[in-house]
Subunit: 375 residues, 4 copies
């Protein structure tokens, strides 16, 4: 029995995204035929107890309360970072310096300057990187991009993108790290997904005009102390794409009732696409050429015709879920490490998103258009 | 048999909106108990033949090729103007001078200055006026407004409004009066509905930041001559409402596949409303107070609980249509003439919309925020 | 000015359906170019006051408390019957005997024997007849029928039809004429629509197997007296169509929450159609031949490509309503009187529906299949 | 570190359902806190090569071309059967005789007599059993059942259930084991799901009246030989539940365009539920008590309020998928083996479904109602 090379994973952080990463690594090798055998080698958390618990629950061989053990381990090939955002840079730079591939949850870093430093370090070291933007791994997103790229919609004219949820809608919900003036806010947290999707589908955004609003100006922190909130609860931008299309995006975390409104609408000369994140297995498609009186938006249901859906389920319409998107992301990243494909969303892509977010924030403050060249 | 006073209508213009007005007057008195008996007295068009044809088809007593016959007729109480936009002002001022009530199709006038002159003349004369914005007469719109006004959504925080269609999406479709630099464009034609709905629901807009795009820069006119197009095919604005809410609107007449995307989403502290003009008998409502695990957007279907639906149909869910909205508009206007209610959307309201449109256009040109005080 | 012949209408009954008929006659001649000028000549109700009120509200020239005045009037050409079901036969036979065309609300008669007598009388007299089944006049229904007839779905294999509402769901709602053992029940009242639609789309039903249930066995009448209920609250049938397709229908008036679930699904070898009466301007269409990975049910929105929508509104997607369906029905009937078209749903068609309903009732009682040959 | 007991799994069959089982065992212990550590110990397929390939792909320690190796292994605790239906009985009886727990894909056995033998053997041996009916593990299904059980819908009156797909719609698709007269057909394959859901929600079905149709009477087998088809392509039944409710189910594998129409509608005195398998994360709920004019079907989106959704994703609306349902099924079964819960759907439940299917087939042949007592 010919055996694959092993790829050993160390993971820093064991919260919800840690579980998602561990699950993704585990599932990816069951679902896909990957170039490596993946070994969950070591997991780190702040306390030994938490690390041990995670090791047992997710199946890591070793655990530690010192994340530097992962960096220093000669065995470990890939470092997964699901620790708090403020630690992303330090851990990532250490891992890169140790020659390890790095998989970092979003945001890559709260500030563009930090994201740039991380990106340049990774590129200089030649390691493979990945930032968690798994919505883009949805087969329906891949289909949308392919349809646009292949000209099925003709020339693209206008675009609307949204990512709205309501988890910050309650003014009594506490002040958290997401409210930190450095890198926090709805635009950074949710609008970033809308921006990633916009460029994923239509290519580079050339100019932005932002409009960001702090609606709930004060929240209590965990200790009950009132804290002033300066980050945006709603952040919007007008967009001009380099391909000539115009559009808008909105990030909104106080959209009462919305749980996953990651939506887009693309209008071209020959057709249109409409998608809502509330139904991640569907894509609506309109084409102008249909027979008279028979035209309409058709609801395409995800199926084996839309790779890699068929890796999960042989029959169409049975639906994949959010965790499956993470599995796809992991699989694509593993393939990139194996040299089979480009990374699906590497540090430079993550940097790009931070650049767009910062530009929109600055544009909103300055009340003027800004161009958003690639850093 | 006690008999109602008669209200005699003269109509200028016999095209599609003429048919809609005639139908609306006729239907209104069958559907509603109005304070007047309405008589379709005289209709005017450019030729005697067209006027005669309309008189016969729609049931007018008299016809004429000279619209001034209507103005000069002592019998006529109300003048309906469905003539080309460029004639609205002249006809309306003449009718007002003759002491007649005036019902003018939208836009009231292409330019704010003209709309203001018409409004002031009407107010000075004390006649009742109406501009055709019949989407607002939809019982579901009325319900949405009432729910917001009564606090069912709590404090309103954010808003999205759209009116998108695709009737100008084909670059080969001809140059028309809608492309005229004075008052033309998607924002004026469709965005005006989105603006009217926004203020109808949330009250005055305080500031706007516009972004308008000419996408199809050239069209051929009826004679085959190429004409440069300067008006917007897509017009958008960020909005700040006086009540503190923020939002956006978009007018778009090149949205391939869209036939009636007159949509809005309103998010408040206690609930949310979502509406699409593609389903004018439905309103989606989310309220935060529902039982745990039972929350969700509920689809309210129009019925007799939503006046004046019950005037049309005794049973819920059977659905009214676009023409019924016109009938409601006419009925409300007739009641206003009878002193029973305010006009649903008078000349000053029409002026307001033109003011908003011009402000957004100016803001887009100047790339800066503008306040939009009432004229 | 060449003038049309006049067609004078007499109407018996002034309740909700009376209003709908009067409105339909009035609207039909504004919306369509009909072969006659329609005159609302005389209206009859039980009391002079009610008749007078209706005359004034709906615009009839004369009123009477004796419906035989309408029969005896030499001027009247068409008699509209919206009186209680129990009177349909007597009035219709009198009108037919007087040589008048007859437009009868559904059901034609509660019993097949009566419906047959009425049908044969009308055919012998050569008058034009119409039974109110206006759902069939929906442009989307017409489209569905045409698509099936033209083979766009291939050979039809299976069918599901429903008409469910909830207006009898409350056990405290009173005993009415609809609960009368002769001709009452959900199958007769609502299932009849589902049956009409099924044959309208797929042609004759050959055999039925019924299953009917009385769920609320007792209701109080207007006087507070408990009455036993024997008619069905839910009536269903398996169907075998003569074209070889199989299917089901259900009539249900205790379907809590449903206001207009007049739905059908048709599955053929080459395509499928799905419709819900909750959205009467939409038809979902699936065709097998679409490009791989682009297949799906498309939502066709009613528009001018679907006659006679364009008579009402020039733009697609703006939506017609329930009352517009009545207007179409009236217009088609008037054209039939003018010899331009067949009657859309004449007495023989109405008889057919009663035959199917009675067969299903009998089948349910006898617990066995029954064939349903045309009477 | 206290360590869990190990539970060793042997799996027979490595096709699509084999992958799903292997994935489910693997995922279940990452997602849930289970009473055992699960070891994928041995996998069997017809050839050594296939078994080895599966062992490597899914992570089994051993592989074999002789399924009896699994039975004879003292180490193995649970046997997963995903082999062809015709082998279910032999393998299951052998595993039971060896004292192993047995997890068998549906159908438990094509014939009731066989299913009964298997069930009685398992019960006599005291082993835990499971049949794959994972749709029932959907949190939205669990919610629906709980809502009905807790009386949120009042007394249940009527029910509609469907499971329709189109994978046999093409008459050119080959004759397979699913067309085998013993146990094949759409009712057995898909209608079985509709029956399972119906009893899961409403409790025992008392009587059935079936109507089954062979639409495509001949198919070619793999060798190109024409084979007569006798099983149903569409199978329906009227249902009378023991709780007094009436209803219908349909199984249909030629429903062109349908990929996962596993739908139900439940109507009670106080509310209603509507579900479609096309959107497995949504449940529509209507309650009669809502405020006047605010009533409607609300769309509940799956979230952490609907266990065990929260084990997969911390945020609502992000959506689980088909494979996650399998993971839940496995987890529940493992817990049952650990004595924590009853089996979610054991052999007796699987037997029940076969009983219902056979009764409906017999009823259809005999054209008469049949009662369906528990075997």
């Amino acid at each position: 029995m010919h055996s694959k090379s092993k790829l050993r994973v160390g993971m820093v952080g064991t919260g919800f995204m840690g579980k998602a990463h561990a699950f993704g690594f585990s599932a990816a090798q069951k679902v896909f035929d990957l170039p490596f055998e993946i070994i969950l080698e070591m997991v780190a958390d702040v306390t030994v107890e938490a690390a041990q618990r995670a090791a047992r629950a997710y199946g890591f061989n070793q655990f530690t309360a010192n994340w530097r053990d992962i960096i220093e381990s000669r065995e470990i090939d890939v470092v997964s970072i699901t620790a708090p955002n403020a630690l992303h840079k330090e851990i990532a730079l250490a891992a890169i310096a140790a020659g390890k591939h790095v998989y970092c949850e979003k945001p890559l870093a709260p500030l563009v300057a930090d994201a740039l430093e991380m990106t340049e370090a990774a590129e200089a070291a030649g390691v493979k990187t990945q930032v968690g933007f798994n919505y883009l791994c949805n087969p329906m997103m891949q289909l949308a991009r392919a349809m646009i790229a292949e000209g099925e919609l003709g020339e693209i004219r206008s675009y609307r993108g949204i990512h709205a949820e309501d988890y910050m809608a309650d003014a009594a919900s506490p002040y958290t790290f997401r409210h930190d003036p450095a890198g926090g806010g709805a635009l950074a947290d949710l609008g970033s997904h809308a921006l990633a999707t916009a460029e994923f589908l239509l290519g580079p955004i050339g100019d932005v005009l932002g409009d960001c609003h702090t609606v709930i100006g004060e929240r209590s922190d965990a200790s009950g102390t009132k804290r002033r909130v300066e980050v945006d609860d709603v952040g919007r931008a007008f967009l001009r794409f380099e391909n000539g299309a115009n559009g808008t995006i909105e990030g909104n975390w106080i959209a009462t009732g919305r749980k996953m409104q990651h939506d887009f609408e693309v209008y071209g000369t020959k057709g249109a696409l409409v998608y809502t994140g509330e139904r991640l297995n569907e894509l609506l498609f309109y084409e102008t050429g249909a027979k008279t009186g028979r035209q309409g938006f058709r609801r395409i249901e995800a199926g084996p015709d839309h790779p890699p859906y068929g890796q999960f389920i042989v029959a169409p319409g049975h639906q994949i879920g959010f965790n499956d998107l993470k599995t796809i992301e992991v699989a694509e990243y593993i393939r990139a490490i194996g040299g089979q494909t480009p990374e699906p969303f590497n540090f430079r892509d993550g940097l790009r998103i931070q650049t767009l977010v910062e530009s929109i924030h600055a544009s909103s403050r300055e009340r003027s258009w800004r161009s958003t060249p690639f850093t």
